[in-house]
């Protein structure tokens, strides 16, 4: 909707679609993929919290989600839980693959 965004803590899902600042493809394949497509927040976050320990420390979990809230909430969860938000990559069918690195 908006032509230009400047400054600030983060970008909106639309801004991310309009002008991707992150690489379109992840650099590292995920060790685990959680399919939360069609699920509303907080379910994708709950699935992530339940299963992140299934990968080794340093491993990457991909959360597939199409609830717009997940685009904001997965990175916010990472910040609160001291894990790393690696990036959010658009899926061809809509939604994102949101990659999280287990830090501990």
């Amino acid at each position: 909707m908006w032509r230009r965004r400047t400054g600030g803590a983060r970008r909106s899902p639309e801004a991310a679609q309009a002008e991707p600042a992150e690489p379109v493809q992840p650099a590292e394949p995920p060790a685990l993929t959680i399919d939360a497509l069609g699920r509303k927040c907080p379910i994708p976050i709950i699935m992530l919290a339940e299963r992140i320990n299934q990968v080794a420390t340093g491993g990457v979990v991909a959360v597939l989600a199409d609830d717009p809230a997940a685009f904001t909430d997965v990175p916010a969860w990472c910040r609160l839980k001291s894990h790393e938000h690696v990036g959010s990559y658009e899926l061809p069918q809509g939604g994102w693959s949101i990659h999280v690195r287990r830090n501990y």
């Binding site: 965004r5 400054g7 600030g8 983060r10 909106s12 899902p13 509303k40 927040c41 907080p42 919290a49």
Partner: protein, 377 residues
């Protein structure tokens, strides 16, 4: 029921109620006519205008009354853009402005204008440097900044923004909807908007003040009302009540603000202590005296609101499941904070300390029950 949703609407102030009842009898006639009852309505209207003008730091002839705060913003944004067409078509606004600002911006964009949105920090405060750079870009017709955010309470850098706008020769619209009557109105605005029901006046009264010398052209068909700024018959009794409420509220603001702010501090400190996995959002210091917002991990906002309602608490939420759009609040999104499990507590005038004690007593168990229903323990 404990009403903790003052940021949506403040209950009618007793002074407004008295003024409204009196003005319904004395101020019903058409203030544009010339007979006795009409002159009386006009006198009441002009007295209310003078009073509001004094309280917001304006001249009476700069102040118009609208039918809502939203209408004041729409007219303020679109009218200033229309008046400044020759200067350019760029509109600059903060990312967490009220939807009325963003919707007016979207309309402007659909009509060929340009909109630049300036981002905010994690606490929801507009980046003053980025705002100054944005208004200095050529072709900027108008900049908009709220005094304080309606969802998280964070105060905005209005003085810095006003300085930048003055240097760039760009008018600044300040949306004071959340702070009018609670905090002093900052100077430096070119256009000021506010909403009476947020300060304890009746619904249906907004304030649009346009500084003398600021170019403004009505985006609507004009008539003779409100200095040709707002078409339609004025609601004189409600305007009189709005002025009375603003006067009363402003006089109480310092003492009541201090009391509410201490209660907010308490909620800010106690909620994360009593409830695990909670993020209190918004600036802890640079904030409105009466608003506190937090998000609970692994909780649906709608379930939380429903349970709090059952327990006797009226609060609001920016979570997507509580919004008709199914999109989380653009404010929380722009801040990059948790959007689910979100609760905004906003304290009305005179709220009792007992209500806050009770709120803090019931909240932990409600959150625990909702989490456990989702399998989170």
């Amino acid at each position: 029921m404990a009403y903790l949703d003052a940021a949506s609407t403040e209950p009618l102030h007793p002074a407004a109620r008295d003024a409204l009842l009196a003005a319904i009898d004395a101020g019903w006639a058409d203030p544009a006519r010339l007979y006795g009852t009409a002159r009386r309505a006009q006198m009441l209207l002009e007295r209310a205008r003078a009073e509001v003008a004094e309280l917001i730091g304006a001249r009476p002839d700069e102040v118009s009354f609208t039918s809502s705060g939203t209408q004041a913003v729409h007219l303020g944004v679109l009218g200033t853009l229309a008046g400044r067409r020759r200067a350019g078509t760029r509109l600059v606004a903060g990312a967490v402005e009220h939807s009325s600002v963003l919707h007016a911006g979207a309309l402007h964009e659909r009509s060929g204008g340009e909109v630049e949105i300036v981002g905010v920090s994690r606490t929801g405060r507009v980046d003053a440097g980025a705002f100054a750079e944005a208004v200095a870009r050529p072709g900027t017709a108008l900049a908009c900044l709220q005094t304080a955010n309606h969802e998280v309470g964070t105060l905005q850098p209005v003085e810095e923004a006003a300085r930048a706008c003055r240097e760039a020769g760009v008018p600044l619209l300040v949306d004071a909807a959340q702070s009018a009557g609670r905090l002093p109105v900052p100077g430096g605005w070119s256009v000021l908007t506010a909403s009476a029901h947020k300060w304890g006046g009746p619904a249906g009264v907004g304030v649009l003040a346009v500084r003398k010398g600021v170019r403004w052209r009505s985006p609507l068909p004009e008539d003779e009302r409100e200095r040709r700024r707002v078409p339609g018959f004025e609601n004189v009794p409600a305007i009189v009540a709005a002025a009375a409420a603003l006067r009363a509220r402003t006089e109480e603001a310092e003492a009541e603000g201090r009391r509410l702010s201490a209660l907010v501090d308490r909620i800010r400190a106690e909620v994360p202590r009593l409830v695990p996995d909670v993020e209190v959002v918004g600036d802890p210091v640079l904030r409105l005296p009466h608003v506190v917002t937090f998000s609970c991990l692994y909780v649906e906002g709608e379930a939380l609101l429903t349970e709090l309602d059952k327990a006797g608490f009226a609060v609001s939420s920016g979570s997507s499941c509580t919004a008709s759009t199914l999109r989380p609040s653009h404010v929380l999104e722009a801040m990059g904070v948790l959007t689910h499990g979100n609760v905004r507590v906003s304290l009305p005038r005179g709220v009792s300390e007992d209500d806050i004690d009770r709120f803090l007593a019931v909240l932990p168990d409600i959150v625990r029950r909702i989490r456990s229903s989702l399998g989170v323990h």
